[in-house]
């Protein structure tokens, strides 16, 4: 409970007024000689039970009357916790707009319930200023009133995941910058783990930051942790266009995810089990109950349907073939399942195209090495993909086909002058560069990195990054045979690098320069000075992975993760200032694998060449989506001749709900209030309840009046009045 006029609560000590008056009255007694003592003694002896507590009841009721009056004029609010805080100076609203907020519980969308309850509660509480933090841009913006949550397109749910720590960081920065007074932060969310990123180190900084504020900052969490186990999400896991003569086929692999009751916090899962009258074992078995539903495919307007029988919480449909029209090389499509509790995860859009040729430029002063490099880059891993490699002398780079090149293999002294600008521009556009040590050192540096001296001696690889990068494990999880690599001679590196593989002794074998878009790698040895050529698996994989990443920018179709492309716009502007050292956000969005363009951060990076998002044209998707928000809403868009499919992040399909303990730990030490919302409940979250106190006061006054009413005594009327004679 909190109060809009808490200052009036200072009058609460007035509640003791009746007691004080009673005590003063007791002190004002009179002494009287009395004859009829026997009746007094009898009356005193009869003073038991209700008669004895009657006066105490009257005193209590009088106290309650004053208390209820004071509470009523203090304008109390029914909320989760008792508080003496009054009207806030600034109220910051963080609204979770992730697709999971589109889930229906008791027939009501979580987002609708959150917006309605937030608007109602905040309108009641009041504030001098309302700030809404956009979950996409993270930019706080002032809104006229909480009712605007209904009207603002920026507040509607999107297909992008929310980043709660980032939004809180934005709120923190706003408070710090504007030096607000007493501030309230209202968060409405369904507590999905992927939105909250509880493992992020930012939370600790946020807690410390909020605790350092001199002004009062209270955080309210309006939580909707309910899960609907019947909800099914569909996702295209792999998409490949397969050529069959003049025509082709699409090979689609689908993932179906059934929202598992186990994804809910334990307490909530138990509650659901209780509601259903089932025990835990039955719950686990319930998701195994097979269900059958149709899956509809739409490829460029042509529809087909497939019936799927699913049991368990996850189901994969592998390599479903859909015939394409003759000569159709690219296009878009959609996979749909029937509407269930969350319509935001019932559709998945995709675009496809014939893979572009992967062109490699090899610049080397060693013909033998150049051949080995060219050989590794020109052998395609897939018959559908054409790979080409061309050895170009350093002096003829200006005339090379940079626009078609995906990978640059460089084994000459680091570029300087116009050549450096040319390579730099290539990287800016998303190209990949792998530098190998030249035989002769010129002492030049590129992006702060320079080659050192050659060191002889057999070395082994002691550590490498298997989680990401060129040496990442395979899709099946198996590690590359990097440990078997023998290095006979290598060149040292100096500069700001991120090692991906390290030799014994600590020198890097493979390192990466952090850039905004393209990839710049340094390999400290050559195939001639190591077993790279003889143990060709690792060498081939490194070259082909770099080539695949570089080829993304050449594709005309891109499958994007909603919300990621909005970051691309920001990065694009950053790139104008050549700030290549700014960290690049990486989010595994769920790639389509070989043959299709990966849905990842690299994809968005490759789109740096594309025009502004404003010029996107919607081909499929929600017609009500405004054009400036295309990148955050699922659908198929066309821009600059490219086809873009935007979908929700994969984490949205598997997101678990944070437990109460996890939530408490995130806000430990802060002034934090959690309120569990109920979408099916029309009652406001916060209501002014002064009427209740006023009614209590009236009732207390009435009871007090009844108790105080001098009862017309029958006995008194029987006592003789003046003049009566028996």
């Amino acid at each position: 409970m909190s109060f809009l006029q808490p200052a009036l609560l200072l009058g609460l000590p007035l509640m003791v007024l009746p007691i004080v008056i009673h005590l003063i009255n007791q002190r004002r007694y009179q002494t009287m000689p009395w004859g009829a003592m026997q009746f007094l003694l009898t009356a005193t002896r009869m003073s038991r039970g209700f008669a004895r507590i009657r006066q105490w009841l009257i005193l209590l009721l009088r106290t309650l009357v004053i208390g209820a009056l004071l509470l009523a004029v203090s304008r109390p609010l029914a909320s989760g916790r008792f508080s003496f805080a009054g009207r806030a100076d600034t109220t910051i609203i963080l609204l979770d707009r992730s697709p999971s907020m589109m889930q229906k519980v008791a027939g009501v969308l979580k987002w609708n319930a959150a917006a309605r309850q937030l608007a109602s509660a905040l309108q009641t509480v009041g504030s001098a200023r309302w700030i809404l933090v956009d979950s996409d841009s993270g930019i706080p913006r002032e809104i006229a009133s909480p009712d605007a949550l209904w009207e603002l397109p920026d507040a509607r749910p999107t297909s992008a995941a929310s980043n709660m720590p980032a939004m809180l960081q934005a709120a923190h920065d706003y408070i710090e910058t504007n030096q607000t007074g007493r501030t309230e932060i209202w968060i409405a969310s369904d507590l999905r783990a992927n939105d909250w990123r509880a493992e992020s180190g930012l939370w600790r900084e946020l807690r410390n930051g909020f605790m350092e504020f001199a002004q009062s900052v209270r955080i309210h969490l309006l939580a909707y942790p309910q899960v609907v186990p019947e909800n099914i999400a569909v996702r295209v896991a792999k998409l490949q266009r397969i050529s069959t003569g003049n025509s082709g086929e699409l090979s689609i692999s689908l993932d179906f995810t059934r929202e598992d009751i186990l994804s809910a916090p334990i307490a909530h899962a138990e509650k659901v089990a209780r509601d259903r009258g089932e025990d835990g074992a039955q719950d686990e078995g319930r998701t195994d109950r097979p269900i059958t539903f149709p899956v509809q495919f739409e490829v460029d307007g042509a529809r087909s349907e497939l019936t799927v029988e699913m049991s368990g919480s996850h189901y994969a449909l592998k390599d479903h073939r859909i015939a394409l029209a003759q000569h159709q090389r690219s296009g878009w499509g959609r996979v749909s399942i029937p509407t269930d509790a969350n319509r935001a995860d019932n559709d998945f859009y995709f675009v496809f195209d014939t893979p572009a040729p992967r062109h490699t430029l090899v610049v080397s002063d060693d013909a033998q090495n150049a051949n080995m490099l060219k050989l590794a880059a020109s052998i395609s891993p897939d018959s559908a993909i054409r790979c080409q490699a061309e050895v170009v002398p350093a002096g003829q780079l200006a005339t090379a086909a940079w626009g078609e090149t995906a990978l640059l293999l460089w084994q000459v002294p680091l570029p300087v002058g116009a050549t450096a600008t040319l390579v730099h521009s290539f990287v800016e556009r998303g190209g990949q560069v792998l530098f190998l040590p030249p035989h002769e050192q010129a002492g030049d540096e590129w992006l702060g990195v320079r080659w050192g001296t050659w060191i002889d001696g057999r070395r082994a690889v002691t550590a490498w990054r298997g989680d990401e990068g060129l040496l990442a494990n395979t899709e099946s999880g198996a590690a590359l045979p990097v440990g078997k690599l023998a290095v006979h001679k290598y060149c040292t590196l100096s500069g700001e690098l991120t090692p991906l593989a390290t030799l014994d002794g600590g020198d890097p074998l493979l390192a990466r320069i952090t850039t905004d878009h393209g990839g710049v790698y340094f390999l400290a040895t050559t195939p001639a000075h190591s077993s790279l050529a003889s143990q060709g698996v690792m060498w081939y994989v490194v070259i082909q992975r770099a080539l695949a990443k570089g080829a993304i920018r050449l594709a005309a179709t891109h499958n994007l993760v909603a919300g990621e492309s909005s970051r691309w716009t920001t990065q694009s502007s950053k790139s104008q200032s050549h700030n290549l050292k700014s960290p690049s956000p990486v989010n595994g969005g769920g790639g389509f694998g070989v043959g299709s363009k990966s849905v990842s951060a690299e994809t968005t990076e490759s789109l740096a060449r594309t025009p502004s998002r404003i010029e996107w044209h919607q081909l499929a998707g929600d017609q009500e989506t405004i054009s400036t928000a295309y990148a955050e809403h699922q659908g198929v868009y066309e821009t600059g001749g490219n086809l873009l499919a935007v979908n929700r992040p994969i984490a949205e399909d598997y997101a678990r709900v944070l437990t109460d303990t996890q939530i408490r730990e995130l806000f430990v030490g802060l002034d934090f209030v959690r309120i569990d919302g109920s979408p099916g409940n029309d009652r406001g979250m916060i209501e002014e309840i002064w009427r209740m106190f006023l009614a209590m006061m009236v009732v207390a006054m009435l009871i007090e009046a009844v108790l105080c009413m001098p009862r017309r005594s029958v006995t008194r009327s029987l006592v003789l009045s003046k003049g009566a004679v028996s």
């Binding site: 007694y29 009356a43 003073s47 005594s713 003789l720």
Partner: protein, 303 residues
């Protein structure tokens, strides 16, 4: 030269003058020493025929009714009613509780007025009047006499009454019932704040002794209404402990207790044939006496 009558605050000559026209009758035959205006339990020599009685040897032959002998050939003696005076015994409660009064007079002053007026009326019509003051015992007792000089002595005693101590009305009434002799008019002036069952025994004792008992229960208006506006500490006038009470809290229960007592007392009075008068002491005592005298005139004792 006759001495000038001493003025008494409790005697109002005008009231006495007005009341003197109303005789004080007994409700039952009295047993007096001389002739008076009250019926006697004995046969006498009045002109009012009473009954015939068979002659027994030893009867006065002058009272033999010869006419009856002539008609019936039997000897009858003709008897006539006797008129006698009465002995009025005034019993005044002088315990501490009788000192209470919220108005101009307290209960004992009121009792003093009633006793003085009754004694004057009785003496005036030739009846003997005695006085007994009761507190923790029989404080003072004056035997009934009918001469006017006795009236002065009685007034002196009334004037000097002091209220104190507890009430020993019950033992004193038993004592007086035995010592008064039979057939007297007993007037009790008290608040009767005693156990009613014990009073029943007293009145039955008096009734057994053929006394005509009249009881004036004197009650102060404040005792009846019990109207106080603030907490009170009540001091017992009869020496008991004090009680601190919130009158508004206990007024109902007080009235209930008082009502029960009065009801029981009324029941006792009716059952024991006591001429019971409940009197608020803010009432004019003349009216109280008028009601008494008129009522007694209507219920005059029969032979």
């Amino acid at each position: 030269m006759l001495p000038t009558p001493k003025p008494r605050s409790f005697v109002d000559p005008q009231v006495l003058a007005r009341l003197s026209g109303l005789p004080l009758f007994a409700r039952r035959p009295m047993q007096g020493a001389v002739s008076g205006r009250h019926p006697s339990a004995q046969r006498g020599a009045s002109v009012e025929f009473a009954e015939y009685r068979k002659y027994v040897p030893g009867d006065d032959l002058r009272r033999l009714d010869w006419r009856a002998y002539g008609r019936s050939d039997r000897f009858y003696v003709k008897e006539f009613e006797a008129d006698t005076n009465l002995r009025c015994c005034l019993i005044v409660d002088t315990s501490g509780s009788m000192g209470f009064g919220s108005g101009a007079v307290n209960k004992v002053q009121y009792a003093r007025q009633l006793a003085a007026a009754l004694s004057y009326l009785a003496v005036q019509q030739g009846d003997a009047v005695g006085l007994s003051c009761v507190a923790e015992g029989l404080v003072q007792s004056i035997p009934p006499r009918r001469n006017p000089a006795h009236l002065r002595h009685l007034f002196d005693v009334l004037e000097n009454i002091q209220t104190q101590g507890e009430t020993s009305l019950v033992p004193v009434l038993h004592e007086l019932a035995e010592t008064l002799g039979q057939r007297a008019l007993v007037v009790i002036l008290s608040d009767f704040f005693v156990e009613t069952q014990l009073l029943r025994d007293c009145f039955e004792h008096l009734r057994f002794r053929k006394h005509d008992v009249t009881a004036f229960q004197l009650l102060d208006p404040l005792e009846l209404d019990f109207q106080f506006q603030r907490p009170m500490r009540f001091l017992d006038l009869e020496g008991g402990s004090s009680i601190f009470a919130e009158p508004t809290e206990i007024v109902d229960r007080y009235h209930r207790a008082l009502h029960e007592h009065l009801q029981t007392l009324r029941h006792v009075m009716v059952n024991t044939a006591v001429d019971y008068h409940q009197v608020r002491i803010d009432e004019d005592y003349e009216q109280v006496l008028v009601r008494l005298l008129v009522g007694r005139t209507q219920r005059r004792g029969r032979r």
